[in-house]
Symmetry: none
Subunit: 420 residues, 2 copies
């Protein structure tokens, strides 16, 4: 690894140092650089003070070949990254006409007034290469100095990610031509990290040296990331496919997809393939499941709608749950969640109906039904399946987990129906 | 600000640099230090390499009076913080008997076998003061060098937080007796950052030297953070209140809350105060608004439920939108969104009814109604208000923005109704 390419990731802004905003950018950038074969060796956050920023940049370039800077590019007085970069590179600002026309369009399209501050966002250090931002008003900047690369990007996560993905990562790959690194991600749901690790231990121990395994757990799902490094892309892809084929028999019932494929988009393609439609009745998840389904563009092709029945009145009137069931078994019960799934399926006239009913917490728990008790159900043309989940004490975690598990229940139900 | 006490926060571990785990520690530590009146000036993350850690610590002590280090204290071989600290302070490890007895208890209580690795966790650098960890097996360490403080803590968030709260923060306060720093956050919605900046420019320019202003934008909202530093808490709070009183008339129609208050929880308390209830009809936001409302624990007190009407069939059958309106004006229209808000309010029998209908994208746009065209409405006992939004080309952004704006529309409608 003598030709290891080292990167430093820098965020600028008092709000990060003072803990007033959560920095999700540097984790994402670290993941992407690693995937590209560039090694992050340092992360640095500095405040909005010119001297601190200047020294931090100077120090970074003594350590790293690439410096990715985010933040401090807003139009307001407290954003000083551009001025500071001018000082560092001993240059001045000049209006970039392409950037200016893009910013002008941005405001015209929205019928919003453009201020002088907005216009100044098109002013860039003379020595930089402009990275076109089609996603917002703060331009990206690319600098070269003594064979090292300095990139400055806006801190708004989706603008930063778009600029990294479409401008910076391809340019870094072209500039440094880092050693080839290829990833294959196996996505599992419904099996814990440690149990998964035990299940595939012998396979993991037998992995060839040029393939590394990482466990990436996230709300009831565990992603297995295989990383192969070498020089021949075809060979590496073939090696990865062989390992997937070897491990799959051990965990097939937990695997739902690969690489960037999300559970909700996978379900979308399954429903389109079956020419099936979906409706959802949500209680404890409060709209989270529907929001996941509709986060997929084109979901209107198979998603009819949902009833979020927080109150029993809505469960009865909009879903046809019987009052006697609610009294006898309660809202959080197998009977009620099945009635909800079948009710919404009938009411909205869809192929499948999903339902959730539980105690998300922090209040509402009882000795028999503690916080984290959640029933989920899926109604199909042939059958209705319900499952009891025993989750955590944390409201947001319970909502995330219940939503992931009910989507997996739908996936399995579609598979059964399709093969029935 | 000559007696400003500066802090650096350092995390140790490859997993953070490579983006494999989310670092929540440094945000929490930054908040707590700021609250104490100690100014975080730098955050640094380094990997598990001795040389990198040594140089990072050396650099930090040139800048800061306090260095808080987390991570690298686990029992396994790749955790090298303690060895490295011995090297930095030119000392050696020795077993701390108090720590050893605590660790022994820890394993005895859990009926687990204690390994030599666990025993070695009680070995500490001779020159450090032991910070008793009653919450786990990795001891905290306190070092003094040339009037500067170096603290090393485990990376496990709840152990780190307990040690900071009960050991480190009180000790830092006693050692430095820091000047006060007090924050006041004004939360606005519905006005862009640059337009807001121009609106309050004269006020911003007239701020006293001991009060600083920062703009924190997030999906249609901009938080204004005022930071006052001095010695007298009452005086600083009074100064901040005076500035809020001065700026409020300029932006009152955009201000919805202060400090930690979120829009959805503010709405919750307003509804409880009015003994009012809420229902929601969502089309383009697909459940996002309901999910925001139900993210607040106790929301079942005022939230009855929602109808997510993705298809026109559901808009007609579950919300009573007239087919002729849908044909004449389309689903994305003032007529339809008002009918949705009034329909869900009537159907679910609530005080207020909210509705969204728009083209989130990326598909479905037309020349008359491009992607980003969103209608929002709020129905009250007295009136129904609708608003047209022209948002972006990005589905997820449009969903976030439309949700924020419709919640703000509800807030304004509640205020009007309450004062009607």
């Amino acid at each position: 690894m003598s030709d290891l390419i080292k990167a430093e990731i820098m965020t600028i802004g008092d709000e990060i140092l003072f803990g007033q905003i959560t920095d999700t950018n540097t984790q994402w950038i670290g993941t992407e650089l690693t995937r590209l074969g560039i090694r992050p060796i340092r992360k640095t956050s500095v405040g909005d003070q010119t001297a601190d920023i200047l020294s931090a940049i100077g120090e970074a370039l003594l350590r790293a070949d690439v410096l990715i800077i985010t933040g401090g590019l807003g139009p307001t007085k407290d954003d000083i990254t551009k001025k500071t970069l001018c000082e560092f590179f001993d240059t001045t600002l000049e209006i970039n006409e392409v950037a200016l026309s893009l910013i002008t369009d941005f405001f015209t399209k929205r019928g919003r007034e453009m201020t002088e501050l907005n216009r100044q966002q098109a002013a860039l250090p003379k020595v930089c290469t402009y990275l076109q931002n089609d996603w917002g008003t703060a331009p990206g900047m690319w600098f070269e100095k003594d064979g090292k690369i300095i990139v400055s990007l806006p801190g708004v996560p989706f603008e930063m990610k778009a600029l990294m993905t479409h401008r910076v990562l391809p340019a870094l790959k072209a500039y440094f031509n880092p050693p080839l690194i290829i990833h294959k991600i196996i996505k599992t749901i419904g099996i814990g990290e440690s149990f998964l690790a035990e299940t595939i231990e012998s396979w993991e121990d037998s992995l060839p040296l040029h393939i590394k395994l990482a466990y990436l757990p996230h709300f009831g799902q565990v992603r297995l990331r295989l990383t192969a490094s070498g020089t021949n892309a075809d060979q590496l892809n073939q090696d990865l496919e062989e390992e997937v084929t070897r491990v799959l028999p051990l965990i097939s019932q937990y695997v739902y997809g690969y690489d960037a494929e999300e559970l909700e988009s996978l379900i979308g393609s399954m429903l389109i393939k079956e020419q099936a439609t979906l409706s959802i009745a949500e209680s404890c998840t409060g709209g989270f499941v529907s929001q996941k389904i509709t986060s997929v563009s084109g979901s209107s092709r198979y998603f009819e709608g949902s009833v979020i029945s927080y109150s029993n009145a809505v469960k009865m009137e909009s879903l046809g749950v019987s009052e006697s069931d609610l009294i006898q078994y309660g809202a959080v019960s197998e009977q009620t969640v099945k009635a909800m799934a079948e009710g919404v399926r009938k009411k909205l006239n869809t192929t499948y109906g999903l339902a959730t009913s539980g105690i998300a917490g922090p209040d509402g728990g009882t000795p028999e039904k503690p916080v984290g008790t959640v029933w989920i159900a899926c109604a199909t043309p042939e059958f209705t399946t319900a499952r009891l989940l025993k989750l955590s004490n944390h409201r947001s975690v319970n909502i995330e987990l219940a939503s992931a598990y009910v989507l997996d229940l739908l996936r399995k139900s579609i598979l059964q129906t399709a093969h029935a």
